[in-house]
């Protein structure tokens, strides 16, 4: 399928398949190690409480990773060109996160076919913990 053919198949308003994530303490620990994040309030209850937090929190970086995974899972034949996210609520270890998005625009620019999406993550209390937007370039159709 051509790039244009792939773009035609994407509908504005179409939701992205949601990804459900429940970040565990083990995941936070692994991420902090991989990213050299030395802040104790991501893992230590006492440090988190001293900071005025209800307990250890999940780094915003992990929420960013989850929303990018949502995009790359939905559009494996596209390349992420731009993304903007805001972290609106803290995420606690074990929160149940629904990572989702919706196609808001499609078209062609000097680099070829592209799509734009609105993105958001909600926790189990229906609080929006992340909101954002992304632009992806379609590089090939699905074989």
């Amino acid at each position: 399928m051509t790039k244009k053919g792939a773009l035609e198949k994407i509908e504005i308003g179409a939701p992205l398949p949601p990804l459900i994530k429940e970040p565990t303490t083990k995941q936070v620990e692994g991420f902090c190690k991989a990213a050299n994040l030395g802040l104790n309030f991501f893992l230590d209850s006492e440090t988190a409480r001293k900071k005025g937090l209800p307990g250890p929190i999940v780094p915003g970086d992990i929420s960013f990773c989850f929303i990018v995974q949502t995009l790359t899972h939905a559009f494996p034949n596209a390349i992420l060109k731009e993304i903007k996210v805001n972290f609106r609520h803290i995420v606690r270890h074990g929160d149940r996160l629904t990572c989702q998005g919706i196609v808001t625009e499609k078209g062609e620019d000097e680099e070829g076919p592209y799509i734009e999406c609105d993105l958001f993550i909600e926790n189990q209390r229906k609080e929006r913990t992340l909101a954002g937007k992304a632009k992806l370039k379609i590089v090939r159709g699905k074989e």
Binding site: L19, A34, N40, G60, F64, P76, K81, I83, K84, F87
Partner: protein, 153 residues
């Protein structure tokens, strides 16, 4: 307010507009396949098989592991990560060596529903070993100014 907590918060240097323009180095970071796969495994990436099957472009989220230990803001315990704006110009590939530079670009106050907040913004530019610009990140952090320290102009 807890007196001890208030005092310990005051021990931190105030977030100042004097931070604007401070530069810091990024990397060099060697992009190791096992580390990329390891992170994808830790984070339960649904595209893991795709990544492990030999594709040499790393997932774009891997960039957030390539921050600097010289960043004067990111390790402060009194602030939280507020937002991220990323632009990707060329794929980062397994075997690449990524370097770059960061700069504090803004420090400003904003009044929200819960009171005054202080934002710090940094711009990070990343290049590969050929000197090709691969990405630009703009990171912002926020501190609720509950101690009314304000910004040192």
């Amino acid at each position: 307010m807890d007196h001890k907590r208030k005092e310990s918060a005051r021990l931190l240097p105030p977030l100042s507009r004097k931070l604007i323009g401070i530069e810091f180095g990024l990397g060099p970071f060697y992009i190791d396949k096992q580390k990329v796969i390891g992170l994808a495994e830790i984070l339960g990436d649904p595209n893991l098989s795709h990544i492990a099957s030999g594709i040499d472009a790393v997932p774009p989220y891997y960039l957030v592991t390539l921050l600097s230990d010289k960043d004067p803001i990111g390790d402060r315990p009194d602030i939280l990560f507020a937002g991220l704006h990323g632009e990707f110009f060329a794929p980062i590939k397994i075997g690449d060596t990524i370097t770059g530079k960061g700069e504090i670009s803004d420090v400003f106050e904003k009044k929200g529903r819960s009171g005054k907040m202080i934002f710090v913004v940094a711009e990070l530019l990343y290049n590969n070993q050929q000197g090709e610009r691969v990405a630009k990140l703009q990171l912002s952090w926020v501190r609720r100014d509950k101690y009314e320290q304000g910004i040192d102009q």
